[in-house]
């Protein structure tokens, strides 16, 4: 079977993106002391990255599992479901 990269995997899915209205907001002041910054690894969509010492999340590709929120020891991730009708739309499930 052909191996797909993360962007290719996410591109299979249908997303209704609420442009300009992120449903995940990170309080980077709480991230400075965090080790090992598990958000960078646990996200199944690999949306988290570190750029210039700041944690950044590409929330548009969120699968809405809630893993990042559950593991964040700092409570730095304010995460809620996107508003009604937006976000991931599973065609199969």
């Amino acid at each position: 079977m052909i191996k797909l990269s993360i962007p290719e995997k996410l591109a299979l899915n249908k997303f209704e993106v609420n442009e300009g209205n992120p449903h995940i907001i990170i309080d980077n002041t709480k991230c400075q002391s965090c080790q090992p910054k598990s958000c960078l690894t646990v996200c199944p969509a690999e949306l988290y990255s570190e750029q210039n010492g700041e944690i950044i999340v590409e929330w548009a590709g969120c699968l809405e599992c809630g893993t990042c929120r559950a593991v964040c020891p700092q409570g730095a991730i304010s995460w809620e479901y996107p508003i009604g009708g937006f976000g991931i739309i599973y065609r199969q499930g």
Partner: protein, 432 residues
């Protein structure tokens, strides 16, 4: 703003909310179901098979019209090492006869169908609306808030799934601990029907479900699943969050590796991935079910209440969801007769759960999560089994040893004592 009032408002259109809605509407209760997704099922993923006997009680013969995939007749348990694997393969002919024991389902289709049934029964379905919180008067839940609108109800049912924002917001449960949660990362792989039936040795609409342990999850507590749909395979890894954090593994990579494992690769060969999803699942079993399942005017059902069983061999959630939804509906119907929606009155929900398979099974498997926390289960035993059988079958011209001797040697090589094995075996028998 004046708020409209209904008898029951259900938050969330998964199996638990829909079962409750259907049952209530059938009894003539006025019920509104609010679902944040585009359609019911659009936010849902299944990570296991649906044990459907309870649904058959609610909608007799449902499979004749529901978009089910395959009825599961074959169960395979795989102990997986890096390249080798050991399969325990069970096929039960009784499982292939109506009313059937279990089905594979695709939730975007199945939940949507169940929602249509509920709507036909009289449920007022509201899609694409996210409920932000419940309305409270003191400790009494009186309604819901969505956007800048409020809506009142005698009873609000929280069926909003594993993240259970509503139950937490209502103060009935705290944040769920990472060790009680696992993330499932799942791929849906399209494959022609004939290929599936050939590869899995299936006749007609029979289906197979795999539970995979060991290397399947890179040794992270959890495991992996694979089951057959009509013309696709659902395959995924389930990784317990505390151990996932510890390991530093990336779920998508664990899944990629599983797809390339010598056991899985031939099964998915030439398949085309058509969807990639992720969802949390409860791992705590009875331990994470809150003490209080009701409050004044409020009931929790399904994943929101933590009703999941993961015995390692079997992952169950959808059947418990339907069972709890039915019990909640019955409790509300009774409360309505008394016109008393207090916690004390609604607590007949708990009694009904206790009397039903839901609590009985949760109690039966109460020790499973603790047993499943054992590292050896994920890291050592799969390798052990493969080492033993590797030695038994590998005729490399060195003299053969008796099975017991081979086994003891393998134990030693894997840093396990026979006492570990005996103890875990005993615990396992009791817990599973």
């Amino acid at each position: 703003m004046s708020a409209d009032k209904y008898e029951v408002i259900i938050i969330g259109g998964g199996p638990s909310g829909l079962a409750a809605a259907y049952k209530l509407a059938q009894a003539g209760v006025e019920v509104v179901l609010v679902e944040r997704g585009d359609y019911c099922g659009s936010k849902n993923l299944s990570g296991g098979v649906f044990y459907t006997r309870v649904l058959d009680q609610l909608i007799p013969g449902f499979w004749e019209e529901a978009p089910v995939e395959r009825y599961i007749t074959n169960y395979v348990t795989t102990l997986m090492d890096k390249e080798d694997y050991f399969n325990l393969d069970y096929k039960g002919q009784a499982l292939s006869k109506p009313p059937y024991n279990a089905f594979s389902v695709l939730r975007a289709k199945f939940d949507r169908w169940l929602a249509e049934k509920a709507e036909d029964a009289g449920v007022m379905l509201v899609n694409e609306i996210k409920v932000e919180k419940v309305l409270k008067e003191g400790n009494k839940v009186t309604g819901i808030v969505a956007g800048d609108e409020e809506m009142l109800a005698d009873v609000v049912i929280a069926a909003d799934g594993i993240n259970s924002f509503i139950a937490q917001e209502a103060g009935l449960r705290g944040p769920i601990k990472p060790e009680h949660l696992a993330v499932g990362a799942k791929a849906l792989i399209e494959l022609p029907r004939e290929k599936i039936e050939d590869r899995f040795r299936l006749t007609g609409n029979e289906g197979t479900a795999y539970a995979m342990l060991g290397e399947a999850s890179h040794g992270v507590a959890g495991g992996a699943f694979l089951y057959t749909n009509i013309d696709s395979l659902s395959i995924g890894v389930v990784l317990r969050l505390d151990d996932l954090v510890k390991s530093g593994a990336k779920p998508a990579e664990v899944l990629d590796d599983l797809l390339e494992h010598p056991m899985v690769a031939p099964l998915v060969k030439d398949g085309k991935m058509v969807e990639y999803g992720a969802h949390l699942t409860a791992e705590g079993g009875l331990h994470m079910v809150p003490q209080q399942l009701v409050a004044d005017g409020f009931i929790m059902v399904g994943d929101a209440a933590g009703f999941t069983i993961n015995s390692g061999l079997v992952i169950r959630g959808m059947d418990l969801a339907v069972g709890s939804g039915i019990a909640a509906a019955e409790a509300i119907i009774e409360a309505k007769e008394k016109n008393d929606f207090s916690a004390a009155s609604l607590n007949s929900y708990k009694r009904r759960l206790d009397e039903s398979f839901v609590m009985k099974d949760l109690k039966t498997y109460a020790k499973a999560p603790i047993f499943m926390e054992n590292d050896r289960l994920y890291k050592s035993y799969s390798k052990l089994a493969n080492d033993i059988f590797g030695k038994v079958y590998n005729h490399d011209l060195t003299p053969k040893e008796l099975l017991l001797k081979t086994a003891l040697k393998a134990l030693k090589e894997n840093n396990l004592s026979i006492f570990d094995l005996a103890r875990d075996g005993f615990k396992g028998v009791r817990a599973l």
